[in-house]
């Protein structure tokens, strides 16, 4: 009897997936809208913030550190009491479009409404329709821990006045449909600029600095997405951009840190058409005015000390010529992330190590070990200066003090 249970179990498994597919498909447009919403929720990378580590999906409570204090992501499951179960579609759109929540109070731009304002009504509707299908989780939102006066939500009205440009996406009729789709995704739901654009002292994106690189926080620097050859995407083909977003790596680079999360939770799920649109838009993004990097010429001694450290610690994977190993270990030579305006990402990875995103077509998830226990601040600085200035690379120099600051924060946060 028991022996047959196994065979039945197998049949049951097959039956289950079949059963799942039929009624859902029969629901027609509703199903289509919900599935479209699922796709858009992935596109917007909602899970990265609205799901806490080890927490229930979309129930919020993830601490988002900002320069002004900690904000906790909110519960967006359809629980009526603690989630958004009793929000109307109109309420939801108002949050997305205006940054105003159901009770009329202002949201903080840690919720990227300055980008989501461009999301179409139809897409917002689909997102809400999908969120309504989630399992409701009863979990109270945590109050923000912001310092005065930002803890007063009314203050955001002034902030919005200064920095928020409400308005749905407007297509550029001189550009292709693909370009416009890319612009809609990058500037809207994808909210790439939330990290890849520098911010002012009040946390608002600097208007002239769009996608020229920005600070994610926690010593992760989001490199430039402009067509700059050295620290932007100038050297990447559209195909390489698509491969990176789909799989987490290409021949030029591999995602680590927060971008690995974005790929894991968001971009790997995007359709090839959408990824191609994003690539088309980014490839057409102007270099803009490039600030001259104020690099003091790296002296031979520093380069030689760094080179020795590199040879001893890094060549096993990244190779002596800095070119890495195709399909496995990312190159450092010519890498835009390595040569980014700010060295923090490189310092962070040397100190704490990093793990590449594991995606279905590249499931391996190669990891680099931490060197914090092995190299002191001076050594890390020498090494980072070498990596950023060897093999034709060129970037600003860092110092032992700067490394020490990263080390303290990284070790405090456990990496």
């Amino acid at each position: 009897m028991r022996a047959t249970k196994l065979a039945f179990g197998l049949a049951g498994l097959l039956g289950l997936s079949l059963a799942n597919a039929i009624p859902a498909a029969a629901q027609g447009t509703t199903y289509t809208t919900i599935e479209r919403g699922r796709y858009l929720v992935n596109t917007g990378d909602c899970a990265s913030c609205h799901t806490d580590q080890g927490g229930k999906p979309y129930a919020g409570a993830l601490a988002v550190p900002t320069p002004f204090g900690v904000i906790y992501s909110t519960n967006i499951t359809p629980d009526p009491a603690t989630g958004i179960g009793n929000w109307s579609e109109q309420d939801f759109y108002k949050a997305m479009h205006d940054g105003i929540r159901r009770d009329g109070k202002h949201l903080y731009p840690a919720f990227p409404y300055p980008w989501f304002t461009k999301v179409s009504r139809e897409d917002a509707h689909a997102i809400k329709a999908f969120l309504d299908t989630l399992t409701p989780v009863r979990q109270q939102n945590k109050p923000t821990e912001l310092s005065w006066p930002l803890d007063v939500r009314e203050v955001m009205a002034g902030w919005n006045e200064l920095y928020f440009h409400e308005g749905a996406f407007k297509a550029d009729p001189t550009k292709s449909e693909q370009w416009n789709r890319g612009a809609y995704l990058v500037e809207g739901l994808g909210h790439c600029g939330a990290c890849h654009t520098a911010t002012n002292v009040l946390g608002a994106s600097k208007t002239g600095e769009k996608l020229k690189g920005g600070d994610f926080g926690e010593h992760w620097y989001a490199p430039s997405l402009t067509s700059n050859l050295r620290d932007g995407l100038g050297g990447w083909s559209a195909v390489e951009i698509v491969e990176y977003l789909k799989t987490g790596a290409n021949d030029k680079s591999a995602a680590a840190g927060p971008m690995a999360e974005v790929i894991k939770n968001s971009t790997q799920y995007l359709s090839d058409a959408d990824l191609n649109s994003i690539a088309a838009y980014l490839k057409d993004f102007p270099v803009g005015k490039v600030k001259a990097t104020t690099t003091t010429e790296i002296n031979k001694q520093t380069l030689s000390r760094g080179g020795t450290l590199y040879f001893d610690n890094c060549t096993g994977c990244h190779m002596e010529n800095g070119e890495g190993l195709a399909q496995a270990f990312p190159p450092l030579k010519g890498s835009s992330a390595v040569q980014a305006a700010v060295p923090d990402t490189v310092i962070h990875i040397v100190l704490a190590g990093a793990k590449m995103a594991a995606t279905p077509s590249k499931p391996t998830g190669f990891a680099m070990p931490a060197f914090d226990w092995k190299l002191n601040d001076k050594e890390v600085a020498d090494l980072v200066n070498y990596i950023r200035n060897a093999w034709g690379n060129h970037a600003s120099l860092t110092s032992a003090d700067a490394v020490n600051k990263v080390r303290k924060d990284v070790e405090h946060s456990g990496g």
Partner: protein, 588 residues
């Protein structure tokens, strides 16, 4: 009182090479699979990171990746008239503990057994007559043939990304490969590793004495490699820290570098670590397993029900668990009846140290970077006038130049200590190599595993008792092999050679090889085997046994290639035969 857990389709005991293969194959077939591992979870980063793994004292000398004998050991004796004593230090062999098993610290030397190895008894009787096999030698045919296993050898080699030179593709002998190997459907996935200078010298010397030398097949990647599961490996850097170490840069094949990235994310797979399986539970008929009992690290006992129980632990541990669980009649050497614990075997090794005039860089090494000859393995040569059965390969390996355990000693006549020793070491460190023989060991009536009558483990269960010694057949064979090795060594035109014959009783102490086999032998006759040709227990049809514990005797090659092939072979039988009609796959 054991807490009873929710049932799963398949429980795997251990989480090394064979469990990883079974888990991947059976979860792909839709089954709910759980692996239970006594050691810790381990992964390339942080556990094997290049920042710390190349530490000879911690990992080789102090056995950082090996099993902890304070938790589990066995007792040992050479013969039935002795009292066995517990093994309190690892010596002769180094089993692992932890996810990935010994697949983490192996060298990567990956061979196929010869077609005649699988039919050793019938083949030997046919060629040399029935009386050629000594009465107390209990060798037997495997119940599977090389041709049965060929597609599964191929699967394992393409899983691992083996670097090598084929010697026989579909019957066509290939230049530069091993001409004695069985025919393979296709070549290796990667070209051979780059050669060390010492292997070039060996190659030339072997050819000078008329032997056909070839580069050894290696689970160290000569190039980056993506396997059929989509898992990517890097490229070997020849750092010289494979053997007894883990690989820090994803270039030695292991469950971690070839399977786990594709297995761990699956919803129908789970694993539990730091849990010791103490029993396979049987129902009242004793013919059906209901699951396993295990104890977690906090000492809590659990009963894990399962429809299928697959033993994937290290060789002796599988036999131990079968004996503790009462699966199969325990072997009795006095009556030569019973099966469980029968046909334990090992391997016999020897070496010839070669002292050269020129420097041979020993530091550029890899676990399976070697050059070998196979003229004197299996039945590749006429045993008639020699009066023994079996053989082995002869190889020169360049696995590294570590100072503590890997220097090749000093020429004859060198003082054992003091200034004279230091001077000799200084002169010879970069100028010495070793030619090794890797010989088979047949199975015998008095070499077996059973439960120790005296010593017990932390759970109060009897320890496993190993009774083993080398026999005349093996000494004769090893002497023959060593003389051939010396012939090649001398053809390298050295200053001097030091021939190290294998002499005296088998000892559990100095390291020889981790290639223990038997105890759950496979075969066609339930009177002489624990499992049938599909590695399924004759007595309890929902129990399968993996690994070298099913080898009916040990042949002249490293076993992992065959262990991997058998795992794929059994997985295929479970998927295509057992699941359709659960029950015995071969009628007794």
């Amino acid at each position: 009182m054991a807490t009873k857990l929710k049932s799963v389709d398949v429980v795997l005991v251990g989480f090394g090479w064979t469990a990883s293969i079974l888990a991947k194959e059976l979860t792909d077939a839709g089954l709910q699979v759980l692996a239970i591992e006594r050691g810790k979870f381990r992964d390339t980063v942080p556990d094997f990171a290049t920042t710390h793994i190349q530490d000879e004292l911690r990992y080789a000398a102090r056995g950082g990746l090996f099993e902890d004998l304070a938790r589990e050991t066995l007792t040992f004796r050479n013969s039935l008239d002795q009292e066995a004593l517990p093994m309190r230090h690892l010596g002769s062999f180094n089993p692992a503990s932890g996810v990935g098993g010994a697949g983490i610290h192996w060298n990567g030397q990956t061979w196929r057994f010869l077609p005649t190895d699988f039919t050793i008894r019938s083949h030997t009787e046919a060629r040399y007559g029935k009386n050629f096999i000594p009465v107390d030698m209990t060798i037997q045919d495997w119940g599977v043939t090389y041709d049965d296993l060929e597609p599964y050898y191929d699967k394992f080699e393409y899983l691992c990304g083996i670097s090598g030179q084929a010697g026989n593709v579909q019957g066509k002998i290939q230049t530069g490969g091993n001409p004695f190997e069985g025919p393979r459907a296709r070549g290796y996935p990667l070209p051979p590793l780059k050669r060390s200078y010492a292997t070039v010298l060996f190659d030339k010397a072997a050819k000078d004495v008329g032997l056909k030398s070839f580069p050894c097949a290696a689970a160290n990647t000569s190039q980056p490699y993506k396997n059929p599961y989509g898992v990517q490996m890097g490229q070997c850097t020849y750092c010289g820290f494979c053997e007894w170490f883990a690989c820090g840069n994803y270039s030695k094949s292991s469950p971690q570098t070839t399977i786990l990235p594709a297995l761990l994310p699956k919803d129908n797979f789970s694993y539990r670590t730091l849990c010791d399986v103490t029993r396979v539970n049987l129902d009242s008929t004793g013919k059906r397993a209901t699951g396993v009992t295990y104890v977690d690290v906090q000492g809590r006992e659990f009963e894990q029900p399962a429809e299928l129980v697959i033993l994937c632990a290290f060789a002796q541990h599988n036999a131990h668990l079968l004996l503790l669980s009462g699966i199969g009649e325990p072997y009795n050497p006095k009556t030569n009846e019973g099966v469980t614990g029968r046909n334990y075997a090992y391997q016999i090794t020897s070496s010839v140290d070669v002292f050269l005039d020129e420097d041979v860089n020993p530091f550029m090494g890899a676990g399976a970077l070697g050059q070998a000859i196979d003229e004197f393995n299996g039945d590749n040569f006429d045993h008639g006038p020699l009066g023994f059965i079996g053989g082995g390969y002869i190889a020169l390996w360049t696995t590294g130049g570590r100072p503590i355990l890997q220097q090749h000693g000093a020429p004859e006549g060198t003082p054992k200590w003091g200034g004279g020793w230091k001077k000799s070491m200084h002169e010879n460190y970069l100028k010495s190599v070793s030619v090794a023989t890797h010989g088979s060991v047949m199975s015998y009536r008095d070499s077996y595993l059973d439960l120790d009558p005296t010593y017990r483990d932390v759970y109060g269960n009897p320890l496993l008792r190993l009774t083993f010694d080398f026999h005349d057949n093996e000494y004769k064979m090893s002497k023959f092999e060593t003389d051939k090795a010396a012939l090649i060594a001398k053809a390298m035109k050295p200053r001097s050679v030091k021939v190290n014959y294998r002499e005296g009783h088998y000892s559990i102490l100095p390291y020889e090889t981790t290639h223990n086999t038997g105890g759950a032998a496979m075969g066609s006759d339930p009177k002489t085997s624990v499992v049938n040709r599909y590695l399924q227990s004759w007595d309890v049809s929902n129990v399968f046994v993996m690994g070298s514990s099913v080898f009916p005797q040990n042949h002249g090659y490293n076993p992992t290639g065959t262990v991997g092939a058998l795992a794929y072979w059994a997985a295929d039988a479970i998927k295509t035969k057992y699941l359709k009609n659960p029950g015995p796959l071969v009628q007794a």
